[in-house]
Symmetry: C2
Subunit: 251 residues, 2 copies
DNA sequence: AAGTGGTCTAGACCACCAT
DNA sequence: TGGTGGTCTAGACCACTTA
């Protein structure tokens, strides 16, 4: 005498979806409205199973997907925790520049400029905002062992970052993506990057200590939050004379 | 009265590993020795559960991992199949060059050179063979809409490709990775790439119809088979004047 | 010792595909 | 209609962490 697989009414929305996906979406929604903060544990699986009126295996399958999306992290014997954008994580997932020889290291970051402006067509399209909408522009220079290697030009939709000032940006305690998460509830989940080789213009050459015309790796990255919302457009120029851009592709 | 979780003796090797991983490894081994060929269905889950003396859920978890590694593909109602390196798959997973505007298209491939030689240090290290071991060198030019965009220089460890001739390489029915799979049992599962911006030397410039010194995107890719065995070292030079290299990074 | 996630079972029923 | 993978249950026991 097994109970019917679907117990209607317990979890109302989208009855076409399997239960474990509806539970996953409920968890995502709870995360998005801040029920559990970054670094905190979510309730134990047995408690969640009771809350959603499902079996524990179904809750585990929902959590599995959130772990695969790097939104949650399991720790056996301790609990399941909301991922944080700490230094190590950031280095591992989002910083792809490695020295020609030797291990990856965390770069030094210098803020070169912090200005307000209005979105041009390129940035507006990528951030899915209107041309002329208010934006923030930030320029950083990254150094590895005091040698300048990367210049980052960030474009942020101002509407998503209310009250972000140069001081707040400069005095952030941790990584940039950690600031997005802790201060604005924006959790970067995925990025898409387009790369090309370009000639260095005089400005970039000066910032990186190169001759104009030297080849640079240009990376145009859009960072996305929970529901595929673009939240940052970043153009990087990388001097790959003694560093490389590293990518691992499955399958 | 539930049976004990572990039923010792049924699946001998590595008793420290969970059952579903041992089953996964058994399946991988069966795949590697050709028990089921590319494109064929593996036995149904119920049959595998009987064969391994486990419950169906445990077999499913093993298959889940092989699907995640893109070695198997499930099709509801039909069966579970061994992945093939067909054109679409190859385009999707391994060809990252997209036009500046418009959709990705499959490139035309022209074989420029096919020679035998001995491994230099760089290639030997990356392929984990000895310096001086026999290798095959292959040069291809890729065109998009008749415009040359990429020059690929492949280095293959000759020992892994016995009997591969220029004719056989040129007359392959499908993709290069499909040839590796169908003729040599080498299934490319993952690649690692290192990218940098370089100046075009005179030879590359001539092959791509550019002026020497033009910036090129250089990609050095190592392709790996089942157990992290390197099977191909490929250096690509890409003209990114009107094309881009596209990467998607999770988390 | 108590509490967490991790593995495994045995079986029911659903959704989909081929015939 | 019969066979496949997909979902779900209810519960046992294991492995690990913390107090």
């Amino acid at each position: 005498m097994t109970a019917p697989a679907l117990t209607p009414g317990r979890l109302a929305p989208a009855p076409g979806l399997p239960l474990y996906r509806r539970i996953r979406d409920q968890l995502t929604a709870a995360l998005a409205r801040g029920e559990w903060r970054a670094g905190e544990a979510i309730p134990p699986e047995r408690a969640l199973a009771a809350r959603f009126g499902s079996s524990i295996g179904t809750v585990r399958k929902a959590i599995d997907e959130l772990c695969a999306a790097n939104i949650l992290v399991r720790q056996q014997g301790r609990g399941t925790f909301v991922t944080t954008h700490d230094r190590d994580r950031n280095l591992f997932y989002f910083f792809h520049v490695v020295p020609e020889d030797g291990p990856k290291v965390y770069p030094g970051v210098t803020l070169l400029a912090f200005t307000r402006g209005r979105a041009e067509r390129d940035a507006a399209e990528r951030l899915r905002i209107g041309v002329g909408d208010p934006i923030l522009r930030i320029r950083n220079r990254l150094t590895v062992a005091t040698v300048p290697v990367v210049v980052d030009d960030l474009t942020l939709p101002a509407a998503r970052f209310p009250g972000l000032t140069e001081r707040r940006f400069r005095d952030r305690p941790s990584t940039i993506y950690n600031l997005y998460q802790a201060s604005f509830g924006i959790f970067v989940v995925r990025t898409r990057e387009r790369l090309r080789a370009v000639r260095s213009d005089p400005l970039m050459a000066a910032l990186l200590g190169l001759r104009a015309g030297a080849p640079l790796l240009q990376v145009r990255r859009v960072a996305y939050a929970y529901r595929d919302e673009p939240v940052e457009y970043r153009v990087s120029h990388i001097d790959t004379a003694h560093h490389e851009y590293y990518a691992e592709i499955d399958a």
